[in-house]
């Protein structure tokens, strides 16, 4: 039995609030239970130097915790004068994942900035961030001019964590579970169940290949559910565009 009464294969409640920052090109507040992440997408009409004159766009992500997101206050990266190693690792993961489902040519010479700021942290913030960032990116892309490469978003994208806690395989770990997990695995899949990223770490005892299979199968069920939420989100507002790119 899990702390909050969930079954091992049960996710926390997921909530999506649209338009949380009305001046951003796209934004949502996404909640996985008590983990809450503000995801925004901004459009910048420039590209990094290595893409200048390439007729291709770029997407980059930043991730940070608000100081009040955790029981013990988190020191700001700006006060320490540098971005923490953990933040670096997570924001690179977010950026890489989203780039796998976007057609950079279709952006033209623009950069999409993804900002994921954790309002409240209770485990799984990186997977909530990826799932929510897709929504913000989708919304931002709807307002872009289309060029010959069409609509920029190519597929849905969502992420979930699974772990081994006290010899039980659990879906969508909260902070207390994550702290006790001997294995912690994050999976990022597309709407067509293809793997974009897999990151599995033995925090305690190393584990065998059979356990890996069990973890992956469970993670897939969670992501399947998140994709249906993304379809609903996209469906309500953007039916026409989605059809034209062959999603949903």
């Amino acid at each position: 039995m899990r702390t909050d009464g969930r079954n091992p294969d049960q996710m926390r409640e997921v909530k999506i609030s649209r338009n949380i920052q009305q001046y951003a090109a796209g934004s949502v507040l996404i909640e996985f239970g008590n983990s809450k992440v503000i995801c925004a997408a901004s459009i910048d009409n420039k590209v990094p130097p290595f893409l200048r004159y390439s007729k291709s766009g770029w997407l980059t992500a930043e991730y940070s915790l608000l100081p009040g997101a955790t029981p013990e206050r988190t020191i700001r990266d700006s006060s320490r004068g540098r971005i923490s190693g953990r933040s670096h690792e997570i924001q690179r993961l977010i950026g890489r994942s989203l780039r796998s489902v976007i057609n950079l040519k279709a952006l033209g010479e623009r950069t999409i900035w993804i900002d994921c700021d954790v309002l409240q942290a209770d485990g799984g913030t990186r997977t909530a961030a990826i799932t929510g960032a897709w929504l913000a990116m989708f919304e931002a892309c709807l307002n872009l001019d289309r060029n010959e490469h069409g609509f920029a978003v190519k597929d849905y994208l969502a992420a979930i964590s699974v772990g081994l806690v006290d010899d039980q395989v659990l879906l969508d770990l909260d902070y207390a579970e994550d702290s006790r997990a001997s294995v912690d695995l994050n999976l990022v899949l597309t709407g067509s169940s293809k793997i974009v990223e897999i990151q599995g770490t033995a925090e305690g005892e190393p584990y065998d290949f059979k356990m890996l299979d069990r973890l992956l199968a469970l993670a897939k069920t969670g992501i399947d559910y998140l994709i249906t939420l993304q379809q609903d989100f996209a469906g309500d507002y953007f039916k026409k565009q989605i059809k034209s790119v062959g999603l949903g």
Copy 2:
């Protein structure tokens, strides 16, 4: 006539949402129209070196814009490797203002960290931040052990901006008005209408002392209203404590 139809002496709608970050000791989301600020108070059981063994506590504040808060994305201080001059100035103002209504001895050797993170910026974020930070601080103090110095909060505290725009004296400027203002003044008052901070800047033409009096009188009306909101906030939940410190 103002852009959003307000009278010159009319504030924007003010909304206060409690408990926006449940792991912080105190937190609110405060909205002045389209300006929205997340205010959190965290308790740290340490004091800065200059107060060690003093039996006195401390309060310090940090202020930052989320990147998606503005139409053109705001670069993070952490990416630039340093806090901007504007943020520095505002967070020092917030900290100084709150320290004027708190009894540091009553905190014991603890530090209250105030974090004001702007979710959406449409002018007046520093005054919303001060007003909201008081609420977060109040809530955080309720849970502290009392020592012989009693309850730490000594008085209400709120702030508002006024300005001279096209020869009209306006209350609670939004971003568009602020950009055109020739005079911009921020006033911070206690619940007993005492001055804690006054900061008035001639962005365009310098102004005379008579104009200063008009600006201050208008600002006072706005703050009087904000204090009633603070009384309601404190009143619903904390009636007993308030009486014991003689507020309200």
Copy 3:
């Protein structure tokens, strides 16, 4: 009775030494009693990116304490790797104040850099810095080519501090007085007694509006005197230019 025998409404002796840095476009050493500030103005034939192609100039200021300026050595900003919050706040105040009395169009696409370095600190260094920086700026502007917008300096500018110490309203606080002041107010006025900046802080007890009026009235007398010194400074050397811009 004040420590150094002054009356409450009496300023410290003010001294101005011209041309303290002969390679700068303009420079003075200004002394308010034991507070001594080196003020320099340099001309840079560039403007910041946001003004490029605008045909307008810019003015920006930096403020710093020399390590030996204080009884306990002040650590350099460069050793700490960042500018202190206090320095940031003061240099923004200096820059904003001077920009209110300069015609940026008349500068052409040039930047005036104002550097205020405190040689010796005994309270009031920011007001001495503003008053001295005007002198350095004035001198630097005399050597600029005139365009159709004429001479760049539009008016005199001086600043002074006042405070409430032991229930007495005092003019031009020294460090010992400033440390004990319950209210500390800095006022910046033009030669025509218009307000450019007002910054008043309750370090101890908040104060009422009547007290504000008393503080402002006293500050005005101090600034009136400083403006006469600026008129003498400008008058000796630059009579013709001053007349042509209608000062004095």
Copy 4:
């Protein structure tokens, strides 16, 4: 056919040079073909603050490229004033992986610093770094005093990359292959073939679960070979210690 004539399931030649830095507690130069990494282990008789008085040790890793390691010179992290995101990610991976096969209690209150400096970069430097770092760590641990927790190293540890290039599954990618790979996966296993870390990224097209199985199977063959090299390394010099900890 691969550029250098290897079969798809063939590794590059692996060379290990002992004692490359005689003042370090342990050090090797490890070569995977043209990729060459200097791996050093240093012992520090302190632990980070969060472990003080815990009777437990710590292990942390740093990774960097020498500027001359790449055809286009790599800018030093120290010149940019901060560690790159890529270096952060890799050094966290190295540290996490090694900590999974070391008994921190057996270290006592000491920190092992692992430094991996890439002398020459031709793909796969992070896997070479992990494999070589184990060797340096092993050597450093031999000279530590044993406490009741015995010898600190618990198992062998090696890493390899696999990828999908032009629809072919390849082992141990060099730089040219890595640049064209649509899938890039790094696997870290113990001597008993347990998973410590799996990181698989779709650089191009996302891939399915069947492909994941093929990639993992191939990676395992590479790691099996690397473990035999580690057994040889440990065997020549340290037979007695190894037996006592039950390796090999």
Copy 5:
């Protein structure tokens, strides 16, 4: 003939103004012609970690240019976020030189901070800084309690530059000469003409050992003169102390 009419073996006029910063333990303004350096010595009742419990003191130096010291404004180290290589090199030279004539044991567990801030730069600022810093240090040491190791200053110390310009050997180069010099040599000697530092650089053509001898002989004459000034400085005020340490 030199620009300012000096003979090749003639120094610029040297001026020393005492007590330029009255809150510092010792301070002078030293001028070598148009080069002007503010030198201050501060006493800190702490030592760096590597000297704790050693019963020995320390001396360290910092060197910086005020922005207005040069015709083209010098950017502050603090704005660039780091100390320039040139400043680093010079301040290490100043610190090393002064430590050679001070008895660190006699300081007790205290640190002397030397700050050399260039008010006006016209070549030779590092040699003026060393010569002036000795004066500030001397003054600061007079007020220290004596322990069994006696007065801390062991000998005089002065520095001068010489150079080869257009095939002429010149003493005390100004900026224009320094820019054209093919050889630039700085020499630091004690009051007994012993070498503390020699730094000679071929900016243009490398030079032979015979030329080195000529440069050194000329430099010695300049330093001999500077030492007489230090004797005068010390003599007026500190006759008794000097005798007791056997100087002069």
Copy 6:
């Protein structure tokens, strides 16, 4: 008798390994006994801003210790966020020295980056770095297109340290000797025995001019030997080019 049995005027064994980093334009590993330095030269087809459109090239150097180079691990400059003063001083010396024997015009608008990374530190690393950096630079220049200014390298260049240890004048100090030396002098000479840099420091007692002559004479013998090694290095591979520039 010296620790390692050398005579006072005897150098440590010098070894040169070519092509240590095959992707760099030139590289060697140079060993002075147990001091080992990786020296690389990279070509960048850009020049710093101050040389743009000058038709002249540039050469700059960076120096760093690998963390495992010393018995007590050296903290990386990148972890401290800034380059140490010692590294700054040494890399400026390396750059200045090499620039004295290269024809910058002959480089065209290119920058040569010299990187000296100390693999193992046992004293004299800066002199080994200069001597090895010349070899890397020479190799890099061989592959450059020649313009009307011909081959860029003008002369050989080598460096050695000498010191006074226990009243004995010693050549090529190792770390233990260097720590006890009362005088430490580094000399950089060209192939024609001209002085490029001399840096002599009294770490203990200041020394007289006669001692300087003895130190210089001994240093010259060491450098003469190093130049013959450079001639061998250049001779094997580059005979024709050398003749054409009149070396050897």
